[in-house]
Subunit: 438 residues, 2 copies
Amino acid sequence: MGKITCQVLKGTRDFLPSQFIVRRKVIETIEQTFEEFGFEPMETPALEYAETLEEKYGEEGARLIYKFTDRGGRSIALRYDLTVPLARNMAMYQIDKPFRRYQISPVWRADKPQKGRFREFWQCDADIVGSREIWADAEMIGLTYFILKKLGFEDFTIRINNRKLLNGMALYGGIKEKQMGVFFRIIDKSEKIGWEGVRSELESKKFSRDAIAKTIGMIVQEGQGSDLLNRMKDTLKEIPAAREGISELEEIERCLGNMGVTTNISFDVSLARGLDYYTGPIFETVIEKPRIGSISGGGRYDGLIGMFSGKDIPATGTSLGLERIITIMEELKMLPVTSTLSEVLVAVFDRSLVGVSFQVAAKLRSAGINTEMYLKDDKLKKQFSYANNKGIPLVIIVGPDEQEQGIVGLKDMRKGAQLTVSLDDMTQKVKEMLRKGE
Amino acid sequence: MGKITCQVLKGTRDFLPSQFIVRRKVIETIEQTFEEFGFEPMETPALEYAETLEEKYGEEGARLIYKFTDRGGRSIALRYDLTVPLARNMAMYQIDKPFRRYQISPVWRADKPQKGRFREFWQCDADIVGSREIWADAEMIGLTYFILKKLGFEDFTIRINNRKLLNGMALYGGIKEKQMGVFFRIIDKSEKIGWEGVRSELESKKFSRDAIAKTIGMIVQEGQGSDLLNRMKDTLKEIPAAREGISELEEIERCLGNMGVTTNISFDVSLARGLDYYTGPIFETVIEKPRIGSISGGGRYDGLIGMFSGKDIPATGTSLGLERIITIMEELKMLPVTSTLSEVLVAVFDRSLVGVSFQVAAKLRSAGINTEMYLKDDKLKKQFSYANNKGIPLVIIVGPDEQEQGIVGLKDMRKGAQLTVSLDDMTQKVKEMLRKGE
């Protein structure tokens, strides 16, 4: 028999059941919290007209979008994130607002694969469209907080800033409006290249020494800490954009307090976020240990939907990076240990008795019990060892004696104990044992 | 503000929450039944090396695979179905067998979009790998039966045949082994082009008149009906392949009987299934009303995994077409009417009271109640009408009086009734009202 090459594309992954089941548990927790916050699931297609995605993600994005021409000559792209398709969608349909949706889906980037960086990976996005109120931004931050708590995280920090405040700081330092985009993108690199790196990159882009000293000085010296907003309010009192940004951050703090979120948040004027389209509050979550970059990021983007609709529709949202979250949970041993969803294996005593095994399996399944039937005429020992390896807690065996007496043998693989029970009582007994074993 | 073109790619779809929630309910029912049968979820990537998919789907497939060359010069393809990626996967990993997995994922085909035919659509596949026993095929058919019953279908027929029997019939008619593939592909068109069409296409492919008369005559005259297998056994008693095929179908009938599946199945020797890779039992489900083609199809493919691994690994599986199933359920008004997952809308009385609304929402959410907070300073009337349009059953309002007294107003949108309840009793009361309203 011929053999052909057989591998997954680099940067993409197979998830075998034992891996996928754990992954899905994490996804379900995120979904549940999204829904508790009134977000509802929505889906956009993986394929979009390339034009829809082009010029939305800056230079890096342009390079990383998977694009191709189909047989009809159409220029097509694979979804690069979940935000731009949402914006396209929101411009197309008339929907009651404020509108909340979440989407948990794969996105594709033609990136160089490396540890923790994939070409196909999942994002978990929640967005509120149609509310200008800063309350909506507070909801996004509260949502992030409760998801991470529910997943079991303790040592995380949600960093919060405001593009308006950053604008004000830049204006205060003498940076011109039209240089803002470049300025923020360089600031955003401080974690990677350090503040000295930021300073020299700003210099190379012809920002004046004075402006650099004034702005970066302020960010580095006054960047964080408990009294940040008050100090900033004082320093920047002459700059309207800054005053507005600070007052929005104060409102966020109050809303979070009312939600019971008083820890794990930090106002931090060094946070810039790379994307061009943010217009107000921005936020991201970092984990101190292990240090792995941000695990969520988001902010207000009041202009993006307007690029599609021609109408100004405000929006704010957050995106959780599923891959990083799972990587960290793995490292910190926070993941559940489930390896199978099957609860009972119905063994096949021998070929002549396969019929009664089918009957037993049908009975358990009709009661909603996840039941695998062993589908080979193997020795019982091999069947037990199969159940054991897979982590299936119970095995049912019907031999000729059991069949004659209308009973089944029931083995608890967790304890090695075996008992018999009548066919009539079997379902009840199995349910009890599954509960007890938990 | 500039406006750019804004549309979904033809043949792909957005699913807004009201659509997606219903879709997900159908998916959940399918998932649940898969799991009751011991199948576990698995995922393969959307992107594969083109080589993995090429030459697996016959001529039509070759034309419809989305292929492109990435920046690194690699030839890449989008998943065309879920079976070939599974085969690739099974050849790569050492996993205990018999192995059961299911996958519910989108696949892509560069087809001409038309009513009910999409470029991006979802398949629901379950497969058993590593069992040669015909029991496994019976499981696949039983699984299909119970899924359709659980979804609420009554008038469906699972047609069952066996490639071995078809082979035997063709040999009996004088058709040569190497012509089998072409023969089956033409037979498979009988629903589309009629038996006369099949006859003339076979003639055009140089099959002898005698062979055509003998085989098609047998299929048309003896094709279905209760005593089919016995009649066939008699006619084809000299052909070993046919005898083996018939005995496998008898075994399937016995297994199904033991599962309690005695209706909605039909042995039918006119069923051929188009794909080359089937080697044993084949099956598909048709709905009589509305007539829309098959809604599931599958069979045994003992050679496919071997194309990747070089080792012979038997397998059987079934694939449910989610789009057709949903289309039919829509037409027959079988879909659930859920339009929202949100259970409570917390209104905002006015800007000064937004804090207490956040407190109330936080309280309900922490009790696991899906709670949307209204995020605009609109008139209460508008907020009620928002809840009403969306189908949210309960609205909570806290005005200044309520706040002072530590109570909340609670409006049941289903009845229009309004009452007040203390903050302490709120969660309990809401839970009761949600239960009662069901």
